[in-house]
């Protein structure tokens, strides 16, 4: 398995290639573009036997993936920000049609004003579409989660499309050593896509997605809900199998970093996780009993795993790189729901950080954890905006 210097975006392209995708349909948008440029290069050089459809919009990118997946092809696309929102209608379609499609999202803020830098609002706005949503910490995980993504998505008890998201520039353009598995290993992990009952076939004609009256519709939605719950096991199984084949555990619903005896637990998703772990290490050395819980899969939301992880903590700090206007961060809402549902007694603080690429330093993270530890933070109702300029 060669270690290669790859950006998050190129790691994604290698992952799609190793997954032997058959149809790629994509539209350029910063900071996603290098993924599909690289895939186009693989295809044109004959290194990947696939079709590249140079669509005229993101809406069409997803529609083309849906068409390809409906007749049995393994389809991949990638986008960001405005592109994802423009595509949104088709995300619901892909999930409702139970088509296993994998999509890379390079997280990027929404306009106006224009911003090409990262936050998570684009992805989280698609929370309820029925897509499985994973956040990668680094380029290695981008690669690993995309390959696992096809396996999870194509599991016939799941059959839901899957997003792997990673942060603009912090991951997308950052170049790191990435352990790229050999093709035969990936082939063993991820066999050729099979034909399903709902794969369109002229030998066995049926109409797919015809009008469903109120007496029939609700069960389809229940089935998505049901599959999402089942996906939790499938996600864990895939991570274990991937570990067995590659020697790398790089997946699963959450990452528990020193939470078991922690009084205070920080929760976050995406590229900030590395810095948070460094800060946890530093504070641990100073005797602060702090842990970090990374949410790797936002959908299905890993309530049970999270509840176990934070069982003994008194204080929870949730770092959201998004804001649900009129409420608080989307991740924080999930954590509060979990705490409530499991009957846990915790103080949960919501912190908004990194919106539109706003810089966060390790010192900032450290300060806030120490403040919380010393019980010096304001009432949990007051949402804390990290490094907000005086307004």
């Amino acid at each position: 398995m060669p270690v290669m210097p790859l950006s998050g975006n190129h790691a994604a392209a290698y992952a799609a290639k190793l997954s032997r995708v058959e149809v790629v349909a994509a539209y350029p948008i910063t900071p996603q573009t290098q993924i599909v440029e690289k895939l186009a290069e693989f295809i044109e050089k004959g290194e990947l036997k696939a079709k590249f459809i140079r669509v005229e919009s993101e809406h069409s990118a997803m529609a083309a993936c849906i068409g390809a997946a409906a007749v049995g092809a393994r389809a991949f696309t990638a986008t960001s920000s405005q592109g994802l929102l423009y595509m949104s209608e088709m995300l619901w379609w892909a999930a409702g049609a139970r088509l296993p499609i994998v999509m890379g999202i390079v997280t990027r803020a929404l306009a106006p004003p224009w911003s090409i830098w990262s936050d998570h609002i684009d992805v989280l706005s698609q929370r309820d579409t029925g897509w499985i949503i994973a956040f990668a910490e680094n380029a290695q995980e981008v690669l690993d989660l995309i390959i696992q993504g096809f396996k999870i998505s194509e599991n016939d008890r799941v059959l839901l499309p899957l997003i792997v998201a990673w942060d603009a520039f912090d991951v997308s353009h950052t170049i790191e050593p990435v352990d790229v598995p050999n093709q035969n290993v990936v082939d063993e992990f991820l066999p050729k896509r099979r034909k399903y009952r709902h794969t369109l076939d002229v030998e066995n004609p049926f109409s797919y997605g015809n009008l469903a009256y109120p007496k029939d519709y609700m069960e389809f939605r229940y089935s998505i809900y049901d599959s999402m719950l089942r996906a939790k096991d499938v996600i864990e199984q895939c991570a274990a199998e991937y570990d067995r084949l590659t020697g790398r555990y790089s997946g699963g619903l959450i990452e528990n970093y020193l939470c078991d005896d922690a009084d205070i637990v920080a929760i976050a998703m995406g590229s900030i996780s590395g810095d948070l772990k460094v800060v946890v290490d530093k504070l641990r050395k100073q005797g602060v009993k702090v842990g970090f819980c990374r949410i790797r899969y936002f959908r299905p939301f890993p309530s049970e795993a999270l509840a176990k992880c934070i069982e003994d903590a008194k204080t929870i700090l949730v770092f959201d790189r998004d804001i649900s206007f009129g409420s608080e961060g989307a991740l924080c809402l999930e954590v509060r729901a979990t705490v409530n549902r499991e009957g846990l007694d915790k103080r949960v603080y919501g912190i908004i950080y990194g919106i539109g690429g706003r810089e966060v330093r390790q010192k900032d993270l450290e300060n806030i954890i120490v403040k919380a530890y010393k019980e010096e933070l304001n009432h949990p109702r007051k949402l804390l905006w990290l490094n907000l300029k005086h307004v």
Partner: protein, 83 residues
């Protein structure tokens, strides 16, 4: 649920039942006048006329639109009131 539920709909004659019940006027072929040109068959939007040795109307499904009567070049089809 054991299996993923998919919105699959299989081809069925009468997908909304016997649409013949929608009819207020009923086409009746006067086979004495009929020249078996099958223009009625050709223009039936419902595919409710069979092309046998003569055109035969499937009354279970004919919605009574009357195109066949209107298009018949020898006026061999009459639209009569359903009772």
């Amino acid at each position: 649920m054991k299996e993923v539920l998919m919105p699959i709909a299989y081809p069925t004659k009468g997908s909304v039942g016997n649409t013949g019940l929608w009819r207020t006027l009923k086409p009746v072929i006067n086979y004495e006048k009929c020249t078996k040109c099958f223009i009625c068959w050709m223009y039936c939007p419902e595919a409710a006329i069979l092309a046998e040795d003569k055109p035969v109307i499937l009354y279970d499904f004919c919605k009574g639109c009357g195109i066949c009567a209107n298009e018949c070049p020898v006026k061999a089809i009459n639209m009569i009131k359903e009772v």
